[in-house]
């Protein structure tokens, strides 16, 4: 079974990647805009944050810089889609690919370590929380980000953004330019993801240009697993589902890694397959539920 140590680690990962899950919730669920930019904006955030810290910026400020960079990346995808009329999926893939080069430019090489540099985690090292510290710290960050997102989506502006994803015809007739909403919404989503990327880099002590591979699938898995557990409907539930799903997803991954059958054991390289299966399972679960009920 899962060791206490592994459980703690999964909790920590779940919260660190919570911001990513929130970003994916915003595009996939709120804006109805399947956005793959995130695979590039997570390492973008990591790169910006790492370079900023190396240049002597305070770690917390470097997260804000990461978010700003992520916002720009998302806005580019939004503009490609709304102004140049490139299909949303393709627009986001183009930005994602371009970001690979951009990220190497930012770091000056494919990866950059933070060894011996300050990180946001320094704030809690003096508190003597042993290994509870990191999960607690990132848990609070994830909760604050989630609460901020719930607040944002309940404002008059946020409502209009939700409406733009729900019914573009209606919200246009109410005087809102859906193009603006898409650019800002996809931007905001990628700001969250890039901020998450900054946290990931600081947590693991390095940024790597390949660290974003599969971000979208992991984020989507979190959102869908969360919805399977908490149900759908409403912003509060959706945001909570993304965060709960993120933790459950990391727990499921940790569980899969601890799985042994004789001499067979799953390795980290099997995780993409496990994730894909998890998403399929979570997508099929509601269908199975209704089918069972019908019987």
């Amino acid at each position: 079974m899962l060791s206490w140590y592994a459980f703690n680690g999964a909790l920590e990962q779940g919260f660190v990647y919570g911001l990513t899950a929130l970003g994916v919730y915003l595009t996939f669920r709120v804006l109805d805009f399947p956005d793959l930019t995130v695979d590039g904006s997570l390492p973008l955030g990591a790169a910006v944050s790492t370079v900023a810290i190396t240049a002597g910026w305070p770690p917390a400020l470097s997260i804000l810089a990461a978010a700003a960079a992520g916002f720009c990346a998302g806005a580019v995808t939004g503009l490609l889609n709304t102004r140049l009329h490139i299909l949303h999926l393709l627009a986001s893939i183009l930005t994602m690919i371009a970001l690979y080069s951009v990220n190497i430019r930012i770091m000056g090489r494919p990866n950059l370590t933070l060894l011996g540099k300050p990180t946001v985690l320094d704030a809690i090292t003096g508190l003597n929380l042993s290994y509870f510290g990191a999960p607690l710290f990132f848990g609070i960050i994830a909760l604050v980000a989630g609460a901020a997102l719930v607040w944002f989506l309940s404002t008059a502006f946020g409502q209009a953004m939700r409406a733009a994803g729900d019914n573009p015809t209606m919200i246009t007739a109410q005087g809102v330019d859906t193009r603006t909403m898409i650019v800002l919404g996809v931007g905001l989503s990628n700001a969250l993801v890039a901020a998450g990327g900054g946290l990931v880099a600081q947590n693991q002590g390095a940024a790597d240009v390949n660290m974003g591979v599969g971000t979208i699938v992991a984020g989507l898995a979190s959102v869908i697993i969360g919805e399977t557990v908490l149900g759908k409907g409403g912003v509060l539930r959706g945001v909570a589902a993304a965060l709960v799903g993120s933790v459950l997803y990391r727990l499921a991954i940790a569980l899969a890694l601890s799985f042994k059958l004789g001499s067979f054991a799953l390795t980290p390289s099997d995780l993409k397959l496990v994730t894909a299966l998890l998403v399929v399972a979570a997508l099929v679960a509601p269908q199975l539920k209704t089918r069972m009920r019908r019987r």
């Binding site: 008059a156 409502q159 919200i171």
Partner: protein, 264 residues
């Protein structure tokens, strides 16, 4: 006041599929005038309303609302002047948002949307008062997602939303066509009330000749992108469905005859 002059629109221009949807429409609707619009399928009724709402730029001609030329304005920019109810009850409201959120969105039609709370408690009280007269019980379901409502309930809500900020022009495109006769009757009665109460300048498309005659104070008939009949006041009031049908076929027939002459 709505002034449309020389409005022309062809879809798929230059291709084999080119259709002339609007062929030089001239129409002036005075403030407070309620115009019913009839005509066969493909006559250009929806296109006329869509052009006024700004869904596409016309090929030629101008559209002015209250003397302001809005021809070049995109739809979202005209929204503060235009209220719309669509044929499809799903189009006018957001299924995933609650009743109060939909009303709140409509209460800011064309206005700036800031970071204040989307729905305040004062809004809620007002929305309840607005919904109660509908007699649909919606005032007690403010926090239900609109997706749970029936087509008729959604259409009633859309109508209310379109008039929440009084529009300078109200556009109704076969907004009762997807409803059962009883509900359609209720929505139609509500339409009459809303238009009269707000003295709204209104264009209402319908395929129901009875409706077209009973409601409003002016009637226009469209055919092949043109207005071929325009009746108001006394003349409209005296008209029966039979008269209308007779005139419809007479006018269409003339055109058929002239087409034939062209061919031979």
């Amino acid at each position: 006041m709505l002034t449309v002059s020389g409005l022309t629109k062809a879809f798929n221009r230059g291709s084999v599929n080119e259709v002339a949807a609007l062929s030089g429409i001239d129409l002036t609707v005075e403030t407070g005038e309620f115009v019913t619009v009839i005509g066969s399928n493909g006559a250009g009724k929806s296109s006329l309303l869509a052009a006024v709402a700004g869904n596409f730029p016309p090929d030629r001609g101008t559209i002015a609302i209250d003397g302001r030329d809005v021809t070049a304005w995109p739809a979202h920019r005209r929204a503060h002047l235009v209220g719309r109810v669509f044929q499809d009850p799903l189009k006018g409201t957001c299924a995933g948002l609650t009743i109060e959120e939909n009303l709140a969105l409509a209460s800011r039609r064309g206005a700036c949307r800031g970071f204040g709370p989307g729905v305040g408690s004062a809004d809620r009280t007002r929305f309840r008062q607005l919904l109660a007269p509908l007699g649909l019980g919606l005032e007690d379901r403010l926090r239900d997602p609109v997706g749970l409502l029936s087509g008729g309930q959604r259409q009633a809500l859309t109508l209310l939303m379109a008039s929440l900020v009084p529009p300078r022009v109200l556009l109704l495109d076969e907004h009762t066509a997807a409803l059962d006769p009883k509900t359609a009757g209720q929505i139609l009665a509500l339409t009459g009330d809303v238009v009269t109460a707000g003295r709204l300048t209104t264009l209402m498309v319908t395929h129901n000749m009875n409706q077209a005659l009973r409601l409003g104070n002016r009637l226009i008939m469209m055919h092949q992108g043109r207005i071929i009949l325009d009746l108001c006041g006394e003349e409209k009031a005296k008209l029966s469905v039979e008269d209308l049908l007779a005139r419809f076929y007479a006018l269409k027939g003339e055109e058929l005859a002239s087409d034939k002459m062209l061919l031979t």
